[in-house]
Structures are given as C-alpha cells and as structure tokens.
Amino acid sequence: MKLLKKIWGVFHSMKCAIVLLVILTAACVAGSLIPQGEVASYYTTVYPEWAGKLILTIGLDDMFSVWWFIVMAGLLCLNLVLCSILRFPQLLRNYREGYTLEARKKRNRPEDWRWMPREETSVRNVFSALHFKPIAQESDGETWQYAVRNRVGIWGSWICHLGMIAVIIGFGLGQKYMLDTYVYGVPGQEKQVEEAGLCVAIDDFEVKLRDDYTVEQYQAQITVKDEKSGKEASGTTRVNAPFHAFGMDFFQNSTGWAATAKAYKGSELLDEQVLCQGELISLEEIPLQVQMTAFYPDYYNDGTGPTTLTPLLKNPVVIYTIYYDGNFFQMDAIGTGLPIQIDDYRFVFENPQQYTLIQIVKDPTMAYVGLGGILVILGIILAFFCRTEELWMRENADGSYVVFCRSVKGAELFADAVEGALRADGEIAEARQPSDGADEPLGQTDDESVLSDDGGRKSERAASESVPSDDKGGKSDQTDNKLTAQMRTEENSGTDEISAGTKKEEGEHVTDFDHR
C-alpha cells in the first residue's frame, strides 16, 4: 500500500514530468540526427557496428513510432491529467478565497515587499498609477486598502496543461485513425479510392509557369464522387489551398510526367495505357515488360547524364527499361513517337503530359489538436501576461502608511514597478532634473552608473534594509526622503516563516505552487 502510494505520488509529481520531458527531448534529438526509416543494412554500414545494432535494437531508426516513445508521451499525458485533476480544487479554492485581505494577512509571506512612505499623497495614487482598484476595509481596528489584479491568471498553467492533453491525445489518435491515401493520373482519368469509398475524376491539370520557367502554381480540377450516396462535388485544388469535400481534404501534392504507351505485334495494337514515371506496360502473351523509367521534356545530354533544358515539350525523350521474365534486359533513351522494336513486338510512347498526384486526408482529431493549441496559447497568455499581482496598504494610527505588494511571477520586477510609482508621484520635479545620460533619469553623473539606472535604487534599497541613513550619495539621498524603510519580511513574521523564507526567497514560485 505504501509502495502504491509512493508510486502514485511520483506519478503525478512535477519531478516525473521533468524526467519525462528530458527523455522525450533526448529522443527527439536522436530522432532528428539519425536518418529515419532506412533499411537495416544502412545503419550497420554507416555507423560503427555496435551503434548500428543499438539503433536497430531500441528502434532509433523509427524514433517517433517506436513503442517506448509512444509510452513516454502517454505517460506525460497521464501525468498531466493527474496533475490537472489534483490541482483543480486547489486552484478553485485559491481563486475564490486566496486573494482577499484576510488571506493575505493570515499568510504573511517573506517575499511580500513593503514600504513605509512618509508622504500620504505618494501612497494613494500608487494604486491608480498601477491600475489597481483598491477596496477599503476595516480589519482588527485598522484601516486597509487591498487590491488584486489579474486573478484569472492563476488558471494559466492549468489551461495550458489542458491544451497539451488535447494536443497529445488528438495527435496520437490522429496518427492511428487518420485516412491518408492518394490518387494520381492525367486529365480524363477516373480513379477508384477504395479506402475512402470515393471515385476521383481528374478533369484538368495545369502547371502555371513564369517567364523564367519557375513554377507559379500547380492546379488540378477534380470531381469527387461518394460511392455510397452517389453524391458528387467538383472543385479546384492548389498548393496551399486544398479542396474540401465529404469531410476530406484533397491536396495538390506533386506532379510528374506521363505518356501513353502502345504495344503492337506487327500492325495489331495489343495494348494501350497511360504510364506515369516508374510504371510498366506488360504483355499477356509473353513475359515482356517495358517501363517508363524517366522522362525529359527538353532532353539534353552532354555526356554527364541526361537533363532537361526547359520544362517545355521541345525535345521529349523517354528513358525506358525492358524486363524479360522479370529480369533486366535493356535500358535506353528514345524520342516520343519513335518505335522500340523487340522481335515481333513494337512499343511506342506518345502524347506526353503531366500527371497530378492528389493526396486525400481525413484526420478526425485535427479539430481537437487545433483546440488544444488554442488552449495552450491562451494558457500561456494567462500564466505570463495576466500575472496575478496584489497591492495593499495599512493606514497606521499615526497617519503614516505601509504599502505591501506581492507577485509570484517576477516579484522583484513588480516591486520595482510599485517602488517606481511610489517615488514618481511625489518626485516628478526631481525626475526632470537635468540628466547626463539616457540611462539615468534621476540625474546620476558618474560613468559607472550607466550600467543601469537601477544602480542607485539598488544601493538605496540595500542601505534601507539595514538602517535608514543619510550617508548615501547623490540621488539616493533624494529618494530616501520618500522611502524610509523597505524590507522583505513582515513585522509579524515568526522566526519559522523567516527561516523558511530565506530558502523560499530563491524561488518565488515555490510557495505559490505549494499553496495551490
């Protein structure tokens, strides 16, 4: 039971997530560097023998479909599901109850910043300057102002995780249940696509060329007939603009050359077929086959190998291969319309034209993956750009104020913004004092301080953390009038809190995660 609990504990932990992410990253690196899907002998010859064997044994040659990669992705998904389920009630509670003055007072945190400005005016305006809407509250006989903004931001990571779950499951199921097939042919041909229950007619195909013979667009006109319902749909498919019909997408995928091959015995026409590059025409009466191996519309060969000068049909030549009884017999080049004579048989390639290859895809889970992607983006925006931040202040009996602020994402930077607003309100005149450099809005003059305009503030902060002192140079003197004290710990923090705090200070997220 204990062991089970432990395993459960590990399973929904972030540590497990990190280990899985590291393994998946390493697998992706291997999968991208090792060529995928080659024949086994490739790995044993290109790599040292032991490495080749290792690649084949653990499936690094088929990285993204190997069982252990899928198991790791599945575990990551399970990890995310568990973590999301467990965090939901905590987040909801935190969302509802965690951002109130009472909650803040109860859970004094060492990382909450505070200042004690002397002048009243510089305090009240800070809320509005930072776009906070404070609510005045009486608590324990004291007057407080409390404001929180972007509370919804705490849902960011949760929504992002939800999106990732949808993406992983959607992608996995898509790989398994997706219909992915193709047809190819020349205009006028009609092809059966059994897996899709369709018949695809290629009505027209056009390769639009520019003046320099580069391709501007490939465009096919097709008619798709659903075999079951008998319904038809016609449309155009171009690269980047697929045709959609019957829940499927038809992509203009690629093209190549085709020609009509005719087989004669004497003057008798035995067979006539449109052959695309790579296809064969076979005779029934003898085991003779002729393949259209390659095609050059504007053939040119200077001895280094055949090539085409233009994509236009200026000097069309077919490279053909003859097989007899399944064995290679002869390979040669011949112009279209010219006969290839083998004993009594004659073959002619005519009417060269370009064929189109149309890919047919039906991915039933793509919408879920898309939705997951949107959730991931939304979650990231919420997590990082709707940062939950709190600002609150106490009016002391003597009329002075204490201002507090807290953020779990970049606490120091938020404290800087609050501090800046605190100072700016009372010090506009000073800020406008002549300044030597763009870096120093408050008029520092020594060169070194150009490293950052923060330099002055930092030394002032460090000094004020110990004893407020007049013994500071230049601008710190000025700001010190406003900020008499500024500490990282609350007055009423117990010793335990502080010692925990020294650890937690390193990572402001920790406390938040613990809490949630």
Binding site: S32, M63, Y218, N253, F384, D447, L451, S452, D454, V510
Partner: protein, 273 residues
C-alpha cells in the same frame, strides 16, 4: 527587382551591418573601460542600425513585391532585425546597458551570417505562397529575438560574480537579472508556441499533414521542450539562478541550431529556409 532598389537595399543593409559592428565594439569598450559614454553610443548605434535595417527590409519588400521572409538570407536578416527590436524593447523596459555587451555580438553574428547568404530575389515556389508562412516566420523572428535577449541577460548573470563589487552595485542584482531573463523567455515562449502552431497550419495546408517530425519541426519542438523544462525547473527553487541561466543559454543554442544547423547538417523539407 530594379537596379535602383537593389542598390538602395545594399547600401541600407551594409550601413546596418556597420552600425551593429561598431555598436558591438563600443559595448566591449564600455565593458572593459567602464565608459558610460561608450554604452550610450552603442545603444544609439543599435537604434540607428535598427532604423536602417527596417528600411532595407521595406525596400526589399517593395522590390520583391512580397513580404521578404522566404529564403535563408531574408530570414537571417529578419532574425537579426528581431534581435535588435527585442533588445531595444528590453532596454526600454529594464534600462540595463550591460546586457548589450552580450546581445550585440549575437546580433552582429546573425547579420554577418545573413551577409554571407545569397541576396538574390527569387519568385516563390507554390508551397511558400502562404499567409500562414508569413505569420509563421514573423512570429519566429520575435520569438528568436527574445531568446537571444534572454541569452544575453543570462550570460551577464553568469559573468556577474566575476565583476568587481563596485560594478555589481551599479547593476541590477542577480535575482533581478534572473527575473528579467525569465520575463523575456516567457515572451519568447509564447511566440515560439505560435510559431509552431502557425507552422503546423501551413504544413497542413501545403502538404496535408500538420506534423511529420521533419528535422526542422523536431528541432523547434526540442527548443520548445527546453524552454518548457526551464519554466518548470524554475518552479523548483533549487534550479533558479545559475542553472536556469545556463538553460537559457542552451535554449538559445538550440534556436541557432534549429535555424542554421538543421539546414546545414540535416536534409529537410524546410531546406529552402
């Protein structure tokens, strides 16, 4: 593209390269000699270079009759533009000149890489004629630019302990540097996510599959995983500071590999860009 526009683009581009180069030299001088003036000149030079850079991209866009984001030169120069933009934005926000010492050399190296590429303006092959591609590449520029800036800040963080106490006190403390780098990474991470999603949509519309584990896709996914790891490791307090700074640097090395390494070492359908 007309000869006048080609000349104009060339002049603007090389003025930019020179501005970034001199800026890098000024940042080095500033760092070595602690000259505040040099830092100001360096930053002003990046800003001026950025203006020329923007003009050179606009001129190329007008000449090509399209948004110039479609081959290795165009993407490399836009990548450098993204770094300059992100640096200027980060500088406006954080006002830390010292980070420029580490970011300007990256900027110069990337624009130097761009200068080595073929500048020829070519018409687009059909697969590249897509608004999704434009969105994909524009977000990539912002994302990569942010990661370059976070890498620069993290390098400054890693160097911090070697600086004299006096210099340290004139800079934000390490904790703040760490948080700056983190904020910039979150920005880059958001954009990288958008890059992958717009890329997936483009691939789906062009080739019928939104994800095929092509090396370029895989490497952008690896980069994304590295930054996701960074974000999660931060939540674990022991990892904040030096280790996360190193992660930010490794993340950027992955960005560079995705951009340059994959094209150079691994065959891919993305070979044209």
């Amino acid at each position: 593209m007309s000869q006048t526009l080609i000349t104009a683009e060339n002049i603007l581009f090389y003025v930019t390269v020179i501005a970034y180069f001199v800026s890098t030299a000024c940042y080095f001088y500033y760092f070595a000699a602690r000259s505040g003036k040099a830092a100001q000149i360096a930053t002003a030079l990046i800003a001026a270079g950025f203006v020329f850079h923007t003009l050179s991209l606009i001129v190329r866009g007008i000449g090509a009759g399209r948004i110039p984001l479609s081959n290795q030169f165009e993407f490399a120069t836009a990548f450098a533009w993204g770094i300059a933009l992100c640096y200027l934005l980060a500088y406006r926000k954080f006002r830390v000149s010292a980070m420029g010492t580490f970011i300007a050399p990256i900027l110069f190296l990337i624009i130097g890489y761009a200068a080595m590429q073929s500048r020829e303006v070519r018409d687009l092959m059909p697969a590249l004629q897509s608004n999704w591609l434009v969105l994909h590449v524009s977000t990539a520029i912002i994302s990569y630019g942010s990661f370059a800036v976070s890498c620069g800040i993290s390098l400054l963080y890693l160097f911090y302990d070697r600086l004299s106490a006096e210099r340290q006190s004139a800079m934000p403390d390490k904790k703040k540097l760490d948080q700056m780098s983190y904020r910039v990474i979150t920005f880059g991470f958001l954009f990288l996510t958008i890059v992958m999603i717009t890329g997936a949509i483009w691939a789906q519309r062009a080739w019928g599959h939104y994800w095929t584990w092509d090396p370029k896709e895989t490497w952008s996914f690896i980069t994304w995983l590295i930054y996701a790891l960074y974000l999660h490791l931060r939540i674990n307090r022991h990892w904040i500071g030096k280790r996360t700074a190193m992660f930010a640097v490794i993340g950027f090395v992955c960005v560079i590999f995705t951009f340059i390494g994959v094209n150079t070492f691994i065959p891919s359908i993305h070979s044209y860009a």
